[in-house]
Symmetry: C2
Subunit: 399 residues, 2 copies
Amino acid sequence: MSLRPENAQQARILRLLRGNGPHSRAELGEAIRLSRSKLALEVDRLAEQGFVESGGFAASRGGRRSSIVRLSSKLRFVGIDIGATSVDVAVTNGELDVLGHTSAEVAVHEGPTTVLGKAIELVEKLRAEGVATDVHGAGIGIPGPVSFRDGVPVVPPIMPGWDQYPVRETMSQEFGAPVLVDNDVNLMALGEHHAGVARSIDDFLLVKIGTGIGCGIVVDGDVYRGVSGSAGDIGHIQIDDDGPICTCGNIGCLEAYASGTALARDATAAARAGRSAYLAERLEKSGALSAVDITAAVAAGDPVAVQMLRGSGHRVGQVLASLVSFFNPGLVVIAGGVASAGHSLLAEIRSVVYRRSLPLATGNLPIVLSELADAAGAVGGTRLISDHVFSVPRGTEER
Amino acid sequence: MSLRPENAQQARILRLLRGNGPHSRAELGEAIRLSRSKLALEVDRLAEQGFVESGGFAASRGGRRSSIVRLSSKLRFVGIDIGATSVDVAVTNGELDVLGHTSAEVAVHEGPTTVLGKAIELVEKLRAEGVATDVHGAGIGIPGPVSFRDGVPVVPPIMPGWDQYPVRETMSQEFGAPVLVDNDVNLMALGEHHAGVARSIDDFLLVKIGTGIGCGIVVDGDVYRGVSGSAGDIGHIQIDDDGPICTCGNIGCLEAYASGTALARDATAAARAGRSAYLAERLEKSGALSAVDITAAVAAGDPVAVQMLRGSGHRVGQVLASLVSFFNPGLVVIAGGVASAGHSLLAEIRSVVYRRSLPLATGNLPIVLSELADAAGAVGGTRLISDHVFSVPRGTEER
């Protein structure tokens, strides 16, 4: 099924049922402000299209008992979050309750065929477990710049083979359903907005500190992508004319100081220079250090690792302080692998932002860790695609 | 008159007539997608309320001649732009054609009674010249933070007596019409969007470099104000831990380097130190230097002044480079008194932004000077209030 609602009333009914669960026809008519007869017409059309089904009768409110309308129990949305080293897949029903969630290790630099193949395999696995029948739409997150309109990655760094690869078209044919492709950080922001720590906030920022650093911008409940889709790409904001060389070829970018990649580089240097026995031991065991090792070192109380993590938080805080003054968000969410190292990073970010940003902008500003953590991207993917499937196709909306 | 349209159709008719001028009933019906009889009903209601009037008959398209509908020629909107040292007033008709425009010198630190009194005097003067009859709404810009919801300034620096002063209420009673109060930079952005260089752009930034420095943010054609109304307040972004003390009490703010106030301070120092004969002569004549003197010195080719202006552009460019990477706008407009010094400032800003921002974000990004210059704020004020008057009151809109 790849139908869409025929008019704005139908779209409103679907979104209401998604957000608030089953309704009696009487409640639905009141909420949508449609007469009983007009509502019946629209609900019947939605039922014919397979969007909704009957769920028995509501308790009587005095007169005739009103029948219950709910989203079809056969609706399935898929969210796919492609990270630098793993793929994460969630399948939900129409209300976006997660029915199945799984992930696998796969490096994004292995190219789109391998990575998307792995994602399809994971969806098949969940299907086989009885979680999914047909797929009615999928939202896919990519760890790099994306043309949202075209559904393709655009010159993504560290992703050989992905530039202009037709991700949306390939996956749409695979699933026989609508697919949208977005930057992974945007999906994480949508996920936190839908079911996480940003549930009640319409204007907020989500900063992901992982292998790279990016920011999801939500304005009035929707992702703001900018005119060429690169909004929120804060990893390459220059914070020092004179700093380390970044993977992008420029000098002194935020990522070159504060990302997981930068931390791994600094941790390796510290281990080799004998400044941290803990890190030296891990380096000797595994031959290379990653952000995970720093997280472990911080948990073990290694002072050099704690210092590095605080340094990362300080740099992120510097950039964020400007963005908070500029954007005046209602919330800042900190997410990503490095953020999972927890409170010393968060404390440093808070300290810099609260000290440096405009008092008016920070007076009421919580800065918190992600609630959904690893699942945020996949959940956001299902939210993105359900927004699309539960809306009137462009050009046919009422004006 | 302080009526508002009764429903979304009426609001759409009014905005269409504002933007595109008189329409025949036939054209209006097509554009709004209403049947002839439904349209007649809404147009008649708008005529009864004094919003529209008949403008004769259109040329026949075969059948009966269709009568022309236009906004009432009696509609008047007022835009008031309060600057640090002057007040600027424009009066427009319903289509926002400027019928009269005037300004007067008055320092904002003289307090709200004096400054608003002067603004009312200017409106009266335009009225006496036959430009205004009744006022149907006014949009007022204030050079400091504003609570848009409450219509009051919020702890504005350099504006003694203005904090929480009921500007909206006072002026609404004075005019007997709806009034909205906003930050002056937001109004300038709206003005450029309505009738200036940003006419066709829905996502852009307007940076004002005057006595202070601020930024108007337009998202999807509307001003983005942030959760506490301070969005765009970029003047106090810290660019150096170790820089000059700012009027706000912090250290190294953008304004402390690059505003008109900072330039006047540096020009005075240069004059006193004998580094610029031109500036020293002006200082001796007038006893104090302002941004205007630097503009004049730049025009006269004084190398010290040109260097200062470039320094200002460099600092603004540094901050803007980050904001462009973050926000990925379709246009950046440079405005304000210091910007009127022209191209050496603009060249420096462009050079820094194009070099430092993400290539994806600058690929298609024009950075240009304001087109409306001094009139942008007042025109934006009339646009803001007409958007409000030509919309359905909250709570009664169709859902």
